[in-house]
């Protein structure tokens, strides 16, 4: 099992009972990369409004993913291999002003 700290912001926390952070333990054989983690979140953690997280089988546009406060595009994006203790953030971009 891998222990991860998940963080949700910019409104995404609404999908997780308004919890902005949660610790999860995921099976390391089936949840190896962030791509796997997204699928795990979709199937295991989200109860409703899946469209706010997933669209056309992948993360919906307008969500910034961070691995330990670094844009996932700088660290292999969805192929990033999760490590024990990683902080993975999903932040919805804001448009209001």
């Amino acid at each position: 099992m891998t222990t991860l700290e998940l963080q949700f912001g910019g409104g995404l926390e609404a999908l997780f009972s308004h919890k902005k952070q949660m610790e999860v333990r995921v099976p390391d054989e089936s949840v190896r990369t962030i791509k796997d983690l997204i699928e795990y979140i979709r199937t295991t953690l989200i109860r409703e409004r899946h469209d706010m997280f997933i669209s056309q089988g992948t993360l919906r546009p307008g969500i910034l993913v961070l691995v330990n406060d670094v844009d996932w595009e700088l660290v292999d994006a969805r192929e990033y291999v999760l490590k024990e203790g990683d902080h993975i953030s999903f932040i919805s971009t804001l448009h209001g002003g």
Binding site: G11, M52, P61, H95, G96
Partner: protein
């Protein structure tokens, strides 16, 4: 102030700006650079009000103001849009903000623009040293960024909703991302909240707009500080009064706007349709 008295800052201005002239990294040369600067504030709402007022207070030479053509001050704006007033309900927001700026600092030259649209965005952005995105909707955010990307105009982009805020630089250097580099596709419209639909506590855009002014002043006066919000994004959680800064990607070569083979033509692009999620750029279609 600061030892070297400077002939090009007159005595009245020295008094007005004395408290910032005292900051060593700012000083008279910073003041002169500010006074020669031209900043465009797009949107005179919860972000644009404090941003424009603090820029005016600091003595930015020319401030351009633009909002939607028929956006007038409404009563529901007043809890967060401090440049306006009860007496100016019904007044055009650009005109109302211009009055507030003049009352605070009559030295500032104000340029009022009718609209920021695909047909004039590039020309508008190109005539300023810095643009502040203080808009409140997806279509405008893509348009402001595209215009800044194509004209290589640095863009300070703020946003806020509920108790959350975000702030970053786009298009600051040749390596900086534009908005499309980070968000190539718009979110589904069902996932987009606005302050009008989802609500906002007034000081939340207040904090972000004030920080936009601060970052603008530092940038325009060339304070040469060690770090800024280029390729870094500030995330503000007003519910806990906490902030974090995260690292974001550099310019993306394949970006639809600032990438090497971009074919996006701003005047012809349907921003409203794109933002509604109806249309996204289909490279293959363009190639045919």
């Amino acid at each position: 102030m600061n030892g070297d008295s400077n002939p090009s800052i007159n005595a009245s201005d020295v008094e007005r700006y004395s408290r910032q002239l005292l900051i060593p990294q700012f000083g008279p040369s910073g003041q002169q650079k500010l006074e020669k600067s031209r900043v465009l504030v797009v949107g005179l709402g919860g972000l644009g009000c404090p941003a424009a007022l603090y820029l005016a207070g600091a003595g930015v030479g020319t401030i351009g103001l633009v909002d939607r053509p028929n956006d007038v001050v409404e009563k529901s704006n007043l809890h967060r849009q401090l440049a306006h007033s009860e007496a100016r309900i019904g007044t055009n927001k650009v005109a109302s903000a211009a009055i507030a700026i003049q009352m605070l600092n009559s030295n500032v030259a104000i340029e009022k623009h009718e609209s920021f649209e695909p047909k004039n965005a590039v020309q508008l952005a190109s005539s300023y040293n810095l643009v502040l995105d203080c808009t409140d909707n997806v279509a405008s955010r893509y348009l402001v960024s595209d215009a800044c990307a194509v004209t290589k105009t640095p863009l300070l982009s703020g946003s806020a909703i509920g108790t959350d805020g975000q702030l970053t630089f786009y298009c600051k250097t040749a390596d900086s991302p534009c908005y499309r580099c980070i968000f190539p596709k718009p979110p589904p419209s069902s996932c987009v909240g606005s302050c009008d639909s989802a609500g906002v506590l007034g000081p939340v855009p207040g904090v972000i707009g004030t920080l936009q002014a601060l970052e603008a002043i530092k940038f325009l006066s060339c304070m040469n500080l060690t770090e800024d919000l280029d390729r870094r994004m500030l995330l503000f959680d007003g519910s806990t009064c906490t902030f974090r800064t995260v690292k974001i990607r550099s310019r993306v070569n394949g970006c639809d706007m600032c990438g090497e083979s971009s074919q996006l033509e701003i005047p012809a692009f349907d921003y409203e349709g794109f933002a509604r999620g109806g249309k996204s750029i289909d490279k293959k279609a363009l190639d045919v």
